[in-house]
């Protein structure tokens, strides 16, 4: 994998629009801002009990934030709610340079840029807010 911050895989994730948009009648939703840069992330969830049937993300933000949102949405769709914490742990490990997880290791180069950690963490924070009292 490239050490460059804007490597091919991360830019491809940023351009992945498969789960971009909103869910009409979403079971859970949350919108969070990054007050430092004004970026905004909305995550919508359609739940069936503990199962996440569908995830959509709507991001007004940078390429890193969009890549993270797309990665998270793809990782959570079809999984249980507990998958959120697991994915957050994988992102933390990637930022610490301590993972070979095939999905999240693309974010490893972000680890060297502390000012950009919040960019990739914002979608996970929005998901956490959306799912906080679900269940």
């Amino acid at each position: 994998m490239s050490d460059a911050l804007y490597h091919e895989a991360i830019l491809a994730r940023a351009k992945d629009t498969a789960r971009e948009g909103r869910i009409d009648g979403a079971t859970r939703t949350a919108t969070l801002d990054n007050p430092l840069c004004g970026d905004r992330v909305t995550l919508d969830f359609a739940l069936s009990g503990e199962r996440i049937d569908k995830v959509r993300h709507f991001v007004r933000g940078c390429a890193l934030c969009r890549a993270s949102a797309a990665t998270l949405a793809a990782s959570l769709e079809g999984a249980g709610r507990g998958a959120l914490a697991a994915n957050a742990g994988k992102l933390d490990a990637a930022l610490a340079g301590a993972t070979d997880d095939p999905v999240w290791q693309v974010f490893a180069p972000v680890g060297r840029h502390k000012s950009r950690h919040d960019c990739v963490r914002l979608p996970l924070a929005a998901a956490r807010a959306a799912l906080a009292d679900a269940g």
Binding site: Y6, L11, C37, G38, R40, R60, C62, L64, C119
Partner: protein, 401 residues
């Protein structure tokens, strides 16, 4: 680049080859005379001011007083109208509390839609606690305050008009004469946020006809953590203190206290002495520079930025398209690319820019944007900075678009 401007640039040791520092609107760099002044103070004069009789205390007190005089000279005002603060934000908060306490519910304050949050949020807080109404001058499509709205916005309840002298996003310089005339016609005071104006040459405060002027040291080639509020002596006398503590008192008893006169009333506690000394040195150094030549060079480089950006596909400049009434601050949107991504990639090419909303979210909302990318010049900027800027922008476009 002329030999004179090259010599000027050499006085900034941080500007090493390979660095195009185009973030001076956030923090300008410090020249050797300022660095030397701070080092001299901290290594041979450091002590608290006004309190001690030992030789270091006397030297520190004298250095602090000299700094006040040097700042005053840069603004062509009396030294006893200069209040040292922590920065522009602290200066404006001081006015919002001290002058704000003289206002009554129903009074009005006029701002504009392009203000830095430092000249917006303190007034929102005052409005919430004091029943004050805020009114806003609109912004034109090219990022100027629309002064044609002055008659409809100001009225008999207007007590203060507070505006950015220069926008930290669009670079637009406000035409102060009609603002002051409109304010005086209704008996209102005028505050200018001069943070982005003072780095581009001395300001003759008296000629502006205003009542308050606020700015920061770190944008004026001086240390962080110091700023200035200039206010007319009559206002310093009329306003109650904002913060209480040591040094701002005349007498303290358990039953109550009385206040010091002049700037001291607003300088509670130990001030940022070394930083103020640096600011004084900066003003002294700046006062001796050839400003006509510097302004011409800043304008020429700004024109290069504007021309190159206007020729770049997908670029939208947020601000005046020409040099008339504009400071060397150039913000732009690159369609399809986020400002932070642009800045990150350009940093990898040695170009230091600022991306985001620049603490001016309402203005970016006016432009229907979350943020922008900003290049800001200073007296040490040269053609190599602009060359590197466009090399970096080409790389950002190649990677992101």
């Amino acid at each position: 680049m002329s030999s004179a401007s090259a010599a000027l640039r050499r006085q900034f040791p941080i500007l090493t080859p390979g660095l195009a520092y185009l973030d001076s609107a956030a923090s300008a760099q410090m020249p050797v005379p300022v660095l030397d002044a701070v080092r001299t103070f901290e290594t041979s004069q450091r002590a608290n001011v006004k309190r001690g009789v030992h030789r270091l205390a006397e030297a520190a007190t004298e250095a602090y007083a000299q700094a006040r005089g040097r700042v005053a000279a840069y603004l062509s005002v009396p030294a006893d109208e200069i209040v040292f603060t922590g920065g522009t934000t602290a200066s404006i908060n001081l006015v919002a509390h001290a002058f704000g306490s003289l206002l009554k519910p129903g009074d009005e304050i006029v701002l504009s839609g392009l203000e830095h949050h430092a000249n917006l949020v303190p007034w929102q807080m005052l409005a919430a606690r004091g029943g004050i109404t805020l009114r806003f001058l609109p912004i034109t499509g090219d990022g100027r305050i629309d002064l044609s709205a002055l008659p409809a916005t100001l009225g008999p309840r207007t007590k203060l008009v507070t505006l950015a002298h220069v926008s930290n996003v669009t670079g637009a310089i406000v035409d102060t004469a009609p603002v002051v005339a409109a304010a005086k016609a209704v008996g209102a005071r005028v505050l200018l946020d001069g943070a982005q104006r003072v780095p581009h040459g001395p300001v003759d405060i008296g000629a502006l006809g205003i009542d308050f002027y606020a700015f920061s040291g770190h944008k004026l080639f001086a240390p962080h953590g110091v700023g200035v509020l200039w206010a007319k002596a009559e206002l310093l006398d009329a306003m109650p203190p904002f913060m209480g503590g040591g040094e701002m008192i005349a007498r303290v008893e358990l039953s109550g206290s009385t206040w010091a006169k002049g700037p001291a009333k607003f300088e509670a506690g130990t001030p940022p002495i070394g930083a103020a000394v640096g600011m004084g040195a900066a003003c002294d150094w700046l006062s001796g520079l050839p400003w006509a030549a510097i302004a011409a060079e800043e304008s020429r480089l700004t024109q290069r930025l504007l021309d190159g950006l206007q020729a770049t596909p997908g670029v939208r400049i947020l601000g005046p398209s020409g040099l008339q009434g504009r400071a060397p601050v150039v913000s732009f949107d690159l369609a399809g690319a986020h400002p932070h991504d642009v800045c990150q990639i350009m940093d990898s090419k040695g170009v230091a820019l600022r991306g985001g909303h620049h603490c001016a979210q309402p203005l970016h909302g006016r432009f229907d944007l979350a943020g922008s990318t900003r290049a800001s010049l200073a007296l040490y900027s040269d053609d190599s900075d602009v060359d590197r800027f466009f090399e970096g922008l080409a790389e950002a476009r190649r990677v992101l678009l």
